[in-house]
Symmetry: C2
Subunit: 213 residues, 2 copies
DNA sequence: ACCTGAACACCGTTCAAGT
DNA sequence: ACCTGAACACCGTTCAAGT
């Protein structure tokens, strides 16, 4: 009979539980409320307990970002025309982020290291490659889509034209910003969905032209 | 002879000097180093002295953002074909931000309230309007351009494909992210200038198609 | 009127101590 | 091995006091 190794005390937390708690705090109290102390309290453990699972606050943020993005389905839709495939993939990210808007300010800084976003990027590239993009053309296409999706989602949630900012802009001095005021008024007729989709369609049309020639 | 009002002691600072000092700190020490204490030290005044010119840290950040964006020429280029006009305006913002990359993380939060960005938006709309865009089509065009410019500039400086991130991505497990690895390798042949311009051209082509029909 | 320094209520994180 | 609380070095900001 072998000597039984002394059982180490089981860890009381899991990365998943930590991520859930941090996201709950973020949703409830916003980014300013997301502190190590608050997450500790949310879990009923000491603040310092978190450091057993996470090296620092930065890693906690990465965990929250991943918790949000991990939900997006990253299987490439290859059974539809490629523009529809791109629309579908872009829409999935937009939808996942829309469920937790407080995470938006964290996205730019943590995008690189997110496995979920990497999987999503691979899916976008699968669709683009199937469509016929290669080499530097594919690089530009991919970067443009990524840039647009990142920027548009941010605009939607930290909104200038859409959302609460619209009214403020529509009230701008008409003599100094006549076109901006007019455009803000017109913006009322365009929902956030159409705004996101409309801009994406512009990009997709531009991409389609590259494929023709 | 009138009684001379007691001269109030002249203010020792100006908003411009404050903005300059804050930008100098930001350029030197990065966003984490931009503190009220550091800016006070930079000016040789007390920390609390700043509060006479700025309500809080948020306003200090807005001042820095404005200091960077105020340099962009916002006269609409109406003497060239409209796509060139848009390229020119987008390039000016990109150039101004490129001179102070540490300001990038501050842009999304302070974009709305920046007079410089409003003037820039007015110029973009002038070009678009001259090109023939109106109503909701103009709204979508404007928002798409804004979203792309914001997103692409952010990508360039917090970079995923371009910059230091590229090498990391190129070293990804080839079996899990084959297309991402391939694309990152191809990205070496595309400079940041071409990447920004190439994506913008896609958008402009899409916009041109809207005008034809 | 303008500026200052001490003090307060927070942070993230180090570290020695508990079980 | 795992968890804790006190303590440290920072923040932004309030407030009473100085000239």
């Amino acid at each position: 009979m072998y000597a039984v190794k002394a059982m180490p005390r089981p860890r009381s937390l899991t990365p998943a539980r930590l991520a859930d708690a941090a996201l709950a705090v973020l949703d409830r109290d916003g980014l300013a409320g997301l502190t190590m102390r608050a997450v500790g309290a949310q879990l009923g453990t000491s603040t310092m307990g978190l450091y057993r699972y996470v090296a620092d606050r930065d890693e906690l943020e990465a965990l929250v970002v991943e918790r949000v993005l991990d939900r997006v389905d990253t299987r490439p839709p290859l059974d539809v025309p490629w523009p529809d495939g791109v629309r579908e993939l872009a829409g999935r990210v937009r939808h996942a982020v829309g469920a937790h808007p407080a995470v938006v300010p964290l996205l730019p800084a943590h995008r690189h290291r997110s496995p979920a976003i990497l999987r999503w990027g691979e899916a976008v590239l699968a669709v683009l490659t199937r469509a016929g993009f290669t080499g530097t053309g594919r690089v530009v296409a991919f970067r443009a889509l990524l840039g647009y999706v990142v920027g548009a989602i941010q605009m939607e949630h930290l909104g200038a034209l859409a959302g609460p900012g619209t009214a403020a802009i529509a009230a701008l001095p008409r003599d100094e910003f006549p076109l901006l005021a007019e455009t803000a008024r017109d913006a009322g007729a365009v929902g956030p969905e159409d705004e996101f989709g409309g801009g994406l369609d512009l990009l997709l049309d531009g991409l389609a032209r590259r494929l023709d020639t």
